[in-house]
């Protein structure tokens, strides 16, 4: 049967070439489209995770929903001691965030002020590497402040300038101090750069009465894909109902959801191409079969069953699909691989879409063999489906009737 199918595909060149070409195009289109979509989403998430948000963060319950100083973590050390025992955790650090007003000589702006552990942050986030001017903090940085570039621009500050801060301490008392601008960072995340500033915790704790307290504890994992498993481990180890441990999927829920929506719309757009190609493949298959009714009649008369006919059609489409997929997949995979390593650069896209959290002009493709595999599988399934109607059409003829068909 396979031999016969092979002969048929070679004999009916028009149908074979059209089907093969369309399958080739749809395979390439499908793989590249999904790769680009996944790649850009992954890059957005990775950039955001790299900059500041941790793979897992531990909060006092209600800190995120209600807020306020009573929901600060009161004994951070007890938690960090437990975290140190978990193998999958690469690094962790406590952060204490508060909001206040900064004033330079002439200008004022509201901003988040966070007390961080500089040496740990160098491992956990890209705050240190985002340095644009001056220097990053260290444990003994004193009243040095490390500020976002957009905020510095707003306050019209230069390195070494003083800036006043007014906010409230952990005991709700008034907290005010004068900081010295030691470093400026630019992560590319516009909102973050225009609203965040950092001080070494040793100094911050004194100002805010924040010893051993934290807004949350941020955690970096050895492998981010293990976030859910490690999170369960952490919850078990902490064993405290007043604490909640959340993975990046919850922390960045809006971004994850938006990407899901983007993917949905992407699939809808892609389905248009696939449906049209499916129809054309089916039409060519149908035309081909219509011209072979007599042949099928003869085959049925000499003893081939309906199942054999289906198998013959299946082999024909299988041969054509396989040839196309074998040609298309390595090409598409190589393009994905190449642009995964050398992302497409669209100058100005980060600036243009800064409100959407786009921090880089680079759009990498995703190179994932499993994704490529299921893309190819979908193309195969569509091609197999395209023979169903022609097969039903053939079966509507009785063998004798088919042999007489003109």
């Amino acid at each position: 049967m396979f031999k016969l199918a092979l002969k048929n595909t070679l004999f009916y060149k028009g149908r074979s070439i059209t089907t093969a070409v369309l399958t080739f195009v749809s395979t390439i289109l499908f793989i590249l489209f999904i790769s680009l979509q996944d790649g850009s989403h992954n890059a957005m998430l990775e950039n955001s995770l790299k900059i500041y948000t941790g793979a897992i963060e531990i909060y006092h319950r209600d800190y995120r929903d209600v807020g306020g100083n009573e929901y600060l973590i009161q004994d951070a050390k007890a938690i960090t001691d437990k975290l140190a025992k978990i193998d999958a955790v690469e690094a962790f650090s406590t952060r204490y965030e508060t909001y206040g007003l900064f004033s330079s000589k002439e200008y004022s702006a509201a901003s988040m002020l966070a007390g961080v552990e500089p040496s740990k942050e160098s491992v956990l986030s890209s705050l240190g590497t985002a340095l644009k001017e001056g220097k990053f903090l260290d444990e003994n940085a004193g009243n040095c402040i490390y500020m976002g570039a957009e905020l510095v621009k707003k306050l019209k500050l230069g390195i070494g300038d003083e800036v006043a801060f007014v906010g409230s301490a952990s005991d709700d008392s008034f907290a005010a101090d004068i900081f010295k601008l030691c470093g400026v960072f630019k992560t590319g995340l516009f909102e973050f750069d225009s609203s965040a500033s950092f001080v070494s915790r040793s100094y911050f704790d004194e100002l805010m009465n924040g010893y051993n307290k934290a807004s949350y504890i941020t955690i970096k994992l050895k492998n981010i894909d293990d976030a859910d498993i490690v999170n369960s481990q952490i919850i078990k180890v902490l064993d405290d109902e007043n604490l909640e441990s959340l993975t990046w999927k919850t922390l960045m829920k809006s971004m994850v959801e938006m990407m899901e929506i983007d993917s949905i719309f992407g699939y809808i757009s892609l389905s248009l191409f696939l449906v049209v190609i499916f129809f054309v493949i089916m039409i060519y298959g149908f035309i081909n079969i219509s011209s072979r009714i007599k042949e099928f009649g003869v085959l049925r008369s000499i003893g081939l069953s309906k199942k054999n006919i289906l198998l013959l059609l299946f082999y024909e489409i299988f041969i054509l699909s396989t040839i196309s997929v074998i040609l298309a997949t390595p090409i598409a995979a190589y393009i994905c691989y190449y642009y995964n390593i050398n992302p497409v650069v669209i100058k100005g896209i980060a600036e243009m879409y800064k409100d959407y959290g786009v921090v880089s002009d680079e759009i990498p493709f995703n190179f994932d063999m499993f994704t490529i595999f299921w893309n190819v599988a979908v193309v195969y399934i569509l091609n197999f489906l395209s023979i169903l109607y022609p097969y039903l059409y053939i079966n509507s003829f009785k063998p004798i009737e088919a042999t007489r068909h003109v």
């Binding site: 206040g100 829920k253 248009l272 449906v275």
Partner: protein, 403 residues
């Protein structure tokens, strides 16, 4: 003669019914899907453009020079009422609003966030952009220290209608000043900047709080049409910064451009594949009847009549496909326009990124006209090669042949 040709073409178009129906279904399904996708994407962008215009910049906005760079209260426009009166008298102006804006810290007893307070005149805003349509919760009222807050800012601060908030900022004289406000309403403008960080209060009250004169504003927004108006405003106020909506929103401009590129590429690819489909059917349909055409030629029928018949056949198939696609597409578009796609389960994300949770489509006549032109063109092009084959026919040989 022509009547006969038309009749023959019609009958031949449906001689192989299944085959023709497949082509019609292919055209119909692909066209309706394409129209639906174009409609929903255009609808998303149009909705964003419309709400951004109504809630913020209008069609043209005037700032003091350097305000946009520094975003500081120092850069205010003086004599705004005089300027407003002058603008209102200009041709093409539909509405003008004055706004004053200051950035600062918004706090509740538990949470704080940076925010922008915007002084507005509710009556004028209603005329300008139907402000009340942005209402999500509460009542649009700014009396007695009332404030209207953007939906995302409300989520960040965990405040509701009735909550008390404190806004602190540097006033017009450079001093830090605070004001207590009561939330009367939560609005969703789908303008990310406003939803994430804006609180609206009465412009008179904000002037008092900031210590600025009522004859000053940081922004004059105008609704009106035409490049002419923009040119006139630019030359009339050379000392002010006059910007069009798209100059202020380059991202939306790029989104619109991207949408045009995306729609064009989609259109081209789909039509190319549709062309391949129609071509296949027309080609086989003509090959099937090659003897018939040979006989027609040998009995003296001129080639031009055969060409006309095939031309009509392609036209009928294309037209039927177009009509089925247009009807199905219109149904989808009307549904998308009226009911929209409900993505409420993703509402948090959509609101955060400036979209409504129910996305409505739009309908443009151009969707149908361009598709019509393309399908008919594709249908007619599909017969060029088969026609060449017929033209080269030797009637005697064809008649002698088995098929």
């Amino acid at each position: 003669m022509y009547k006969l040709i038309l009749k023959m073409a019609w009958k031949n178009s449906f001689m192989r019914l299944s085959r023709t129906l497949l082509v019609i279904i292919m055209i119909g399904v692909s066209m309706s899907m394409m129209l639906g996708i174009q409609g929903i994407y255009d609808g998303m962008v149009n909705n964003m453009v419309d709400k951004n215009r109504r809630s913020d910049s209008g069609d043209i906005t005037i700032f003091a020079k350097d305000y946009r760079v520094n975003r500081d209260l120092l850069y205010r426009i003086k004599n705004v009422h005089e300027i407003k009166n002058e603008i209102q008298k200009m041709d093409g102006v539909e509405a003008v609003v004055l706004r004053i804006r200051a950035d600062g810290l918004l706090s509740t007893a538990r949470k704080s966030s940076f925010a922008s307070v915007i002084g507005i005149d509710l009556k004028e805003e209603e005329h300008f952009g139907k402000f009340s349509e942005f209402l999500k919760e509460g009542t649009v009222d700014l009396q007695k220290q009332g404030a209207i807050i953007g939906v995302e800012l409300a989520k960040t601060l965990k405040v509701r209608v009735g909550s008390k908030i404190i806004f602190s900022t540097q006033d017009g004289s450079g001093e830090i000043n605070s004001i207590a406000l009561y939330i009367r309403a939560i609005v969703q403008t789908t303008n990310i900047a406003l939803d994430n960080s804006a609180i609206f209060i009465d412009i008179g009250q904000l002037h008092k709080f900031l210590g600025t004169a009522s004859t000053e504003a940081t922004q004059i927004s105008i609704r009106g049409n035409g490049e002419k108006l923009y040119g006139e405003l630019k030359s009339k106020y050379p000392n002010l910064d006059v910007k069009t909506f798209l100059e202020l929103q380059p991202m939306i401009k790029q989104m619109q451009d991207l949408m045009v590129i995306f729609n064009s590429v989609t259109f081209f690819i789909v039509m190319s594949v549709v062309f391949v489909g129609i071509f296949g059917v027309m080609y086989v349909s003509i090959l099937d009847r090659i003897r018939e055409f040979g006989i027609m030629l040998s009995v003296g029928m001129h080639y031009k009549y055969i060409r006309l018949q095939i031309f009509f056949e392609a036209l009928f198939v294309g037209l039927m496909g177009y009509l089925s696609g247009a009807v199905l597409g219109a149904v989808i578009l009307v549904y998308l326009k009226n009911k929209g796609i409900d993505l409420s389960s993703f509402s948090d994300a959509l609101e955060m990124w400036g979209y409504e949770s129910v996305i409505h489509g739009t309908i443009k006549i151009s969707y149908f006209t361009t598709t019509f032109a393309s399908i008919i063109t594709a249908s007619l092009f599909s017969i060029l090669i088969p026609l060449r084959k017929i033209k080269k026919l030797n009637p005697i040989e064809v008649i002698k042949a088995d098929k």
